[in-house]
């Protein structure tokens, strides 16, 4: 195809958007509404995931050692823990550190009581590894691994916290995926309907083009350009709206529901848009392109 033909068809595609103003506006509105809804659910879902992730990071597994264990063996156990993929970070807490922390937590204001234990650390056998997981759902696997290690006396875990967080995570993923699938299905249906109406109005134009010797590609190109531009505009509009709305909503929630601000932290708009922008643009362009192509296909058999 010649460059001049490409530019001609590109120009025709843009002109078609103007020539078929009503159809173009209907398509852009449909696309915008779908991507706007998608953006809202994406923002909510991402914020929830981030909150759950933060909660997960606070759930620790603690490993205590057999009495009289050597420092080398403790080091070896630490190395083996470090090799586990589900482990995000781990710390060694010596018996003295454990006692110091205990004193601060339980003898605050009654230091004289703690002083009674001056030279006799009651937590002498409480040296431990404090382990934080990157994926809390892997906690049972890690615990059974730790319990099987030589020199490990006891493994403490918060089974309920881990299970609750895992369940919340799965629920969010399920709800988010269901909403996205429903939205996508609705978008494709609405957009292909709008494109079908738009193209059937121009069936005659397509037939004339074909009868005077236009190749399929020549007929298709302006429609594809049109579909892609409608998709692009239909995804940029909701993204701009969401950008400003998100900040407003976050500020509003923080000011109106003070009690929530201590429990939840919203992600910055830049973090949300890092993925939302490319995903929405690809969705918009893809649906616009695919919708035009599929619908045109049956009209090209002249």
């Amino acid at each position: 195809m010649k460059i001049s033909t490409f530019f001609y068809n590109f120009g025709q595609g843009l002109k078609n958007i103007w020539r078929n103003k009503m159809f173009s506006m209907a398509s852009i509105a449909t696309m915008s509404a779908c991507i706007f809804l998608f953006g809202i659910f994406y923002s909510i879902g991402t914020n929830f995931s981030a909150m759950v992730k933060t909660a997960e990071e606070g759930v620790a597994v603690t490993v205590f050692f057999d009495e009289g264990i050597s420092a080398e063996r403790i080091q070896e156990i630490g190395d083996e823990i470090g090799k586990r993929p589900e482990v995000a970070k781990y710390y060694f807490v010596s018996a003295d550190e454990a006692w110091e922390t205990f004193k601060v937590e339980y003898f605050d204001g009654n230091e004289d009581l703690a002083a009674g234990f001056a030279d006799d650390n009651p937590l002498a056998n409480s040296a431990n590894y404090e382990i934080y997981l990157s994926d809390v759902s892997m906690q049972p696997t890690l615990v059974s691994f730790l319990e099987g290690l030589d020199g490990v006396r006891q493994v403490n875990q918060s089974e309920v916290a881990a299970k609750t967080l895992t369940d919340i995570n799965s629920l969010i993923a399920l709800i988010f995926m269901s909403i996205v699938i429903i939205l996508l299905a609705v978008s494709v249906f609405l957009i292909s309907n709008t494109v079908t109406v738009g193209i059937s109005v121009r069936k005659e134009e397509i037939a004339i083009m074909k009868l005077i010797g236009a190749k399929d590609a020549f007929v298709r190109q302006p429609f594809l350009v049109e579909g892609i531009f409608i998709g692009l505009i239909g995804s940029v509009i909701p993204l701009v709206l969401l950008y400003f709305l998100y900040e407003q909503v976050v500020v509003y929630i923080a000011s109106q529901f003070n009690f929530l601000s201590s429990m939840i932290t919203f992600l910055p708009v830049e973090t949300i848009f890092q993925n939302l922008v490319p995903v929405s643009l690809i969705l918009g362009l893809g649906i616009g392109w695919l919708g035009s192509r599929i619908t045109l296909h049956k009209h090209l058999r002249v």
Binding site: M1, K2, S4, T5, Y8, R19, E204, E205, A207, I208, M209, K210, L211, I212, G213, A214, K215, D216, F218, V302
Partner: protein, 226 residues
């Protein structure tokens, strides 16, 4: 130039729109194809454009068997045939110039050719002054002239006209027929499907009559009788 060998076409099995039609049109001929509504005239034009496939028989254009043309090669084939429709079939949102230029754009003609050929063609059909008008601003006769200009701008060897005077008054109909005669005089083979017997009789050309899908008479020029 155009040869049909025992061509039949049925839309519904057992009910032929065209039945065993054989005809041969030579290069440079001017031929009328006449018949009542539903006789199969438009089906014939659609077969020649390869818009439809015959149920039986073979069609040869310039020695080329239409059945052997692949789907991807159909556009190239159609560019050698100019077609004029009864209802003009112009692009309503484009002006006269763009409607004619469109036929050249479709064949990816260079812009300089388009700029040279379109004004020439519009002068030939007498519409040079109205190149900026939209189809709805033109009379029926003028719209048909635009359609003829669009059909001829690629210099096809064959011009098919399907009821070109069907929507025109007598004066405009005659103007269009004279234009087609001029085009034929320059060497283009012209096939006109019509039911306007007054024009057919007056023009003294070869006339092929189709009735119920079959050729019932084929008489040349002065031999035509009602």
């Amino acid at each position: 130039m155009i040869r049909l060998d025992h061509v039949s076409k049925s839309y519904i099995e057992g009910i032929p729109a065209l039945n065993d039609v054989t005809m041969h049109i030579l290069p440079g001929e001017f031929v009328f194809i006449v018949g009542d509504s539903g006789s199969g005239k438009s089906t014939l034009i659609k077969l020649l454009q390869k818009e439809l496939e015959p149920t039986k028989g073979r069609i040869y254009i310039n020695g080329q068997d239409l059945k052997k043309i692949k789907h991807s090669k159909v556009p190239k084939y159609r560019r050698n045939i100019g077609v004029v429709f009864q209802n003009f079939r112009l692009l309503p949102d484009r002006n006269v110039y763009d409607n004619v230029a469109f036929a050249l754009k479709v064949v990816e003609a260079p812009n300089r050719d388009i700029k040279a050929k379109v004004p020439n063609m519009l002068s030939m059909v007498g519409l040079a002054a109205k190149y900026k008008s939209k189809p709805h601003q033109l009379s029926g006769g003028e719209q048909q002239r635009v359609a003829i200009a669009r059909a001829l701008v690629n210099e096809p060897k064959i011009l098919l006209a399907d009821e070109p005077t069907g929507n025109l008054d007598n004066t405009n109909a005659w103007e269009i027929m004279h234009l087609l005669e001029d085009i034929n005089a320059k060497g283009t083979t012209v096939v006109v499907v019509t039911h306007n017997m007054e024009i057919v009789k007056a023009m003294n050309k070869r006339v092929i009559t189709i009735k119920k899908g079959a050729v019932v008479s084929d008489v040349g020029g002065e031999g035509f009788e009602d």
